[in-house]
Amino acid sequence: MAKKFQLDGKVVANEWVTASYFKMTLSFQTLPEILPGQFAELRIDQTPSVFLRRPISIHDVRPETNQVDLLIQKVGDGTAWLAERKAGDVVNLVFPLGNGFTTAVSNQKPVLLVGGGVGIAPLLHLGRFLAQNGTKVQFLLGFRKKADILPLNAYQAVGDVLITTEDGSEGEKGFVTNHSVWNDADFARIYSCGPTPMMKAVVAVARQKNIDCEVSLENKMACGVGACLCCVTQTHEGHKCVCTDGPVFNSNELPW
């Protein structure tokens, strides 16, 4: 496994992109190599209600400037503290953590990256990586309604972006698994990150169509390095740590 670091990141920018999502750009003195799908554990200070670090997936990486983007949903006091950081502030990270997605993939067919909610975050880094290696990337991103749609330009620069909204206010109506792209689906692999019910539905479709599928899980986590055994998920081989055996699992490993 790649070496892990505990590093202070300096906030370069931190801006709201929707009512509840913000994008934080951090710069580092030196940046370790980060694989698509890996994450960081962020230290939260000055917040009596928060004790543990918060696992946040890596949204985008710019090795040339030693910068990392995090796309974060404000859900509680920990992410609220992160949202309040201003340019020049310092945030402490332990990273890169986790296995990451399988990036070795046939270029004969496109890949489909299916995301929902904050789960779209790691798909940008993954898509960029795959596209740079010559793979055709399609994103399929699900939102509740038009107003919830996150900024897509970075995704569009990497590949096709297909959208579903539950109310049909943008893109196709329904859940991601209702999208017409599935009609004659023929992908080298499907990658998915988002709410568990969404990923389970994606896995069901992938299985039906016999397409290899990887999902990235998000469990409550303490150490982030496989020591505390708190973040386990049930697999065909027993409990595995989402932080180190995952967060990415092949759907075949899971009793889904």
Partner: protein, 303 residues
Amino acid sequence: MVDLSVKIGDLSLRNPVMTASGTFGYGTEFEDFVNFSRMGGIIVKGTTIRHREGNAYPRLAEVNGGMLNAVGLQNKGVDYFIEHIYPTVKNYDTNVIVNVSGATLEDYVACTEKINDLDKIPAIELNISCPNVKQGGMAFGTSCTAAAEVVRAVRKAYDKTLIVKLSPNVTDIAEIARAVEAEGADSVSLINTLMGMAINAETRKPVLSTITGGMSGPCVKPIALRMVWQVAKAVNIPVVGLGGIMNATDAIEFFLAGASAIEIGTANFIDPSVTMKVVDGIEDYLRRHKLESLNQIIGQLEV
């Protein structure tokens, strides 16, 4: 030059800073963040005679100043440890101590016997205090008779340093400490986690799959300090203190209360290199107070 070395029974520690079982894996998980050769010891995961899957997810609840866990002694069993983990950890330049857990007297003894054969494991920590499994030993740790019984049996099976980890979920921890001392324990370590509970008011459900779990973190430090103080006065064997130690100042408080060594647990989750900082901080403290040796503060609370 400040002397940080301490002895726990026959076990020599280069410094008093160890890591608590279940919070530091087998050490490898933290090798990017610490230097083993600057640690007193690593107490590896709770190990049982057989493979244990542990409890269902969720196993974690965050609470004010700490956390509850309900891992339930997940481990691959002592044979797996001997075959797959021991070949690596035996080469660490620090004391590797195995935390031995069990559900029955026979299990404790069988597991201990196997560990006894491992040359490079100089000590075990006998866990009679896990609150997270139906038969995780807490029943042994909450009665003097049962605690004495298990220590007596394990003592016969174990030649090296025997540390007994005590439960704080008792009326009189000093009494339990005396009972295990009488059966030949070389040391007691305390406190294991306090049994707590977290509820999600909105869903009206417990946060943990097991309803209750073990509380750790700075929120338990005052209780841990009190118990170390009580036990250190009650026994003549060295006491290993743990419970919410986040920094060197916390560690010093435990030494003053009577601990000869300490374990750092939950703090590893917040700062994976915290052990290094605590070692440095203890050294700084002693130097600043013009002391030559850690032994000069152990139990030296001025009352």
